[in-house]
Symmetry: none
Subunit: 531 residues, 2 copies
């Protein structure tokens, strides 16, 4: 392999599945494999067929899935102590998985051999050798994961190295040094990897965990010391604090260190892929996640926004577009007219900065902020404020009245919430009611039910996130509340916000914005399709 | 300063406030300052008095807050180009903030001088010198934040160093090398810091950002190269991808590298403090966050659980108790009992650890946690759970029913909430109603009104804080909510918690606990006074 190439190895489906709350269906797994293959990930670890019948089923199913470049990998342990490799059930399962590449993990820390698997140090070496020899004879590419390598090296250097040499001799193509507990410091990773590099001739890899928040740095340090395979999970999921986050490691290796991985087209899909995989994992990526988060290139301070407008490199270490992300200016009290002008231009590109509406919109947003609104991540409401002032808005319905009833006890239930609503659209009246989990859920159901009579396209839209923030909470239940709603139609997401002394009214304001925003976007699409 | 001491500098209230969605009330800020002081954080950067009138107000308020050891710091920039330091409004504001320690940030990257603040390289050096000299003359301790230092060093080494020398000459006590854009690699941080260490005699600091997910590692590398101040935010909030996460840096410095920071007692409070600060910031700490997350020491794989049971160091790089966190097994719930025993002993000092109630209480609390309860900062509810199981509890009233009515429009008002309640105390029935700002406020008023007939001492009690947290917010308005209530009678404060799919019911649960807790405490006081 060329010196400037690094292979990327994803374990979302194996080590990632050990993360809290992660559970994949067979279809989820197929989707993730395809997404990783689209990203040109070199190795995809698909499961442990010997320990999990579902994984075995998945390997069978995978035989029918055509991949562009990725190699599917099966994971399993060295043979059991004191038996022949041929007789080990786990190894049989690895072979019948059909995977051409096998990861074998084995103990590299003497304490783990004697105290956990309770066998002799010599037998453990034999287990590594036998297992790998056997798989090589069966024409498999073998990667040896030296579990707890760094911890083992620190306690018994010679033994840890001996396990690697056993794997090398037996025919493994790569030995991967694992920081299984995530407790090794970056400098230690560098120094130890460097020593190993001098003693092992086959390729080295790194497998890091994030227990100290340093798995990305540790992976980079290992590469700088000579590792040429990086194992991790695409969005960092995994047991405890997770595995090394590949969506950070990939752009660092490529953009900062110039290694040959993927190609430019794939890097541009990084953000989209990370969000797609998060969706399948049913987890919310934190806004702050490096490179691919919604805040990764979001600027709030007025001075920063000003400087980034002059020269992006002022407060951006790379161009967001390189990883398919985008710059955002958070509309907040600290930011001024120039930020707001950028927002207006997204909707009305030809507006001049001296247009009287710009000042009016700025004043209105400030007034709302003073009342407790916060427009960061509430672009839907910002667009509606802009449209209302510029005059490119008309209401989609008129509320006549609504009523919420909460009762405890309620029949056999503890508690119940019901909403009754009465609206008018184009002179036509619609009255309906719905029960829900809480007053806001009931109101959400009722208004949708009423509006879908007139706007059936609303059926595609639903709420995905609902946040309540009590403002000045020292006033306790009399305090103002801010409600932030995120909605989706399956393609686009949008957020809206409402503030009131009453949580129901605040929710209502945000709900109405959410619905109107969706209806405006649908009209825009129709107009675009027509012209 | 001793060679093995590192000072911890927290910027939650300044740089942290630049994070998306972060907005602090004055009371929030006071709470955070106190929590940081309790943790023995050395420096607390409280705001930028020159750029924000709210920050100035906060500094005035801080004068009345007594701190144990922390120094409060005001942040501002070097004087404007071509004026005298005496005439600079920002410097005047810094002085009138009353803070004894001032952070001055200045440009260390030539490009930022010429292209962003648009002055000459020489004038920038003068700005640094004048500003620091002026503040030193006013007897302030000055820390110089060399903004973009690492980027600047890479493009113009001599100029970057010259800015540090200017600060040193002018009397600064510390120069902090900032990786403002978060784009510097760990090895670069180490090498550059090492060079600077050889040229500057005053103390060095590091200020990292997490744009590549390496701010923790970068901070550690800087310390290993000689930095003795680490700037960050306690839970890593901040602009874009956030600042260096102190809740990871602190235990690494202390437990892995043996630096003298905080003391053992404070480290034990790390998890509790991080969660408390997150609560005030109204953000949800990810389960995966190092050291202090709910999953940081959570094991899922059967093999791992087995090994950890044999020897925790098998899959834990430190003992979770060292940072006040705990081990969790995600499949079968175990442990926690000894912590709970401590809680029980607070109320019933003579209980034996083998008492059957201890197991029952442990089971009940775990069950509630599984439902979404969180007992950190909800001691009132914990006491009631304990009392109910031990049998030292009897209800103070019986709820017959309540009804909440919300109406929009309502007479001349936009919206109104009304609560009707019917209770029985000692066979005597009381029915009443109240209007409020929102359904929960109405319910709070109604239940108090009804109960005060029987328990006039409740008149002294009132709510001081009311927080709503949406759990599993992906289920939007159908999600579970957790309501945390803080109450006071003017002498003591207590907190209670309720969880339900319905915000009104969750609030009701927490309200009832709050009222019953108060009534129990009043009885206890009467008993004590009598005997």
């Amino acid at each position: 392999m060329a010196q400037n190439q690094v292979k990327i190895f994803d374990s979302t489906l194996r080590d990632g599945a050990q993360g809290q709350g992660i559970s994949f269906s067979l279809e989820d797994k197929i989707k993730i494999v395809k997404a990783l293959d689209d990203m040109q990930i070199d190795y995809i670890e698909a499961g442990n067929p010997g320990s999990n019948p579902k994984d075995m089923e998945f390997f069978k199913r995978l035989k029918d899935v055509e991949l562009k470049t990725a190699k599917v990998v099966a994971f399993g342990s060295t043979r059991k102590p004191n038996i022949n490799a041929e007789d080990d059930k786990n190894l049989k399962d690895l072979l019948s998985s059909g995977a051409d590449t096998i990861v074998i993990f084995g103990k590299a820390w003497d304490f783990q051999v004697t105290d956990i698997i309770k066998t002799s140090l010599d037998e453990n070496i034999e287990m590594i050798k036998d297992t790998i020899k056997y798989l090589c004879k069966k024409k498999k590419e073998v990667i040896f994961d030296a579990e707890h390598f760094y911890d083992g090296y620190k306690e018994n250097k010679d033994y840890a190295i001996a396990t690697l040499k056993a794997a090398e001799e037996a025919g493994a193509q790569v030995v991967v040094l694992c920081d299984t507990n995530g407790g090794t410091l970056p400098q230690e990773i560098y120094d130890i990897t460097k020593v190993v590099k001098g003693q092992i001739t086959i390729e080295l890899g790194i497998h890091g965990h994030d227990d100290m928040g340093m798995a990305v740095a540790n992976s980079i340090m290992a590469v700088e010391a000579g590792s040429r395979q990086v194992q991790g999970t695409f969005i960092g999921i995994g047991e405890r604090c997770g595995n090394a986050n590949l969506s950070a490691i990939i752009p660092i290796l490529k953009l900062k260190l110039g290694y040959e991985i993927l190609n430019n087209n794939e890097l541009v899909n990084l953000t989209k892929s990370a969000r797609y995989i998060a969706e399948i994992c049913n987890i919310t990526l934190t806004d702050q996640i490096p490179f691919v988060g919604s805040s990764s290139f979001a600027h709030k301070g007025g001075m920063h926004i000003d400087a980034v407008t002059k020269a992006p490199k002022s407060y951006e270490h790379i161009e967001p577009e390189l990883v398919g992300n985008k710059r955002r200016f958070l509309v907040s009290e600290v930011s001024g007219k120039s930020t707001i002008l950028q927002e207006i231009k997204k909707i009305f590109p030809n507006i001049s900065k001296d247009d009287i509406s710009v000042q009016k919109i700025t004043d209105r947003l400030k007034e709302l902020e003073y009342e407790g609104y916060q427009f960061e991540g509430a672009e839907g409401t910002v667009e509606l404020v802009i449209r209302k002032i510029i005059g490119k808005y008309k209401p989609f319905f008129k509320l006549n009245h609504f009523k919420i009833i909460g009762e405890q006890p309620y029949g056999s239930e503890d508690f119940s919430s019901t909403a009754v609503i009465n609206i008018t659209v184009d002179g036509q009246n619609e009255m309906t009611a719905a029960e829900g989990e809480g007053p806001v859920n009931a109101l959400d159901k009722a208004i949708r039910k009423a509006l879908e009579v007139f706007y059936p396209e609303l059926k595609q839209a639903r709420l995905v996130d609902y946040k309540v923030r009590v403002l000045d909470s020292e006033n306790a239940t009399e305090a103002k509340v801010r409600v932030l709603i995120e909605s989706t139609d399956g393609i686009e997401n949008w957020s809206t916000v409402g503030v009131s002394r009453d949580v129901i009214q605040a929710s209502w304001i945000a709900l109405v914005d959410s619905i109107e925003y969706k209806l405006i976007k649908d009209i825009e699409k129709k107009v675009k399709a027509y012209f």
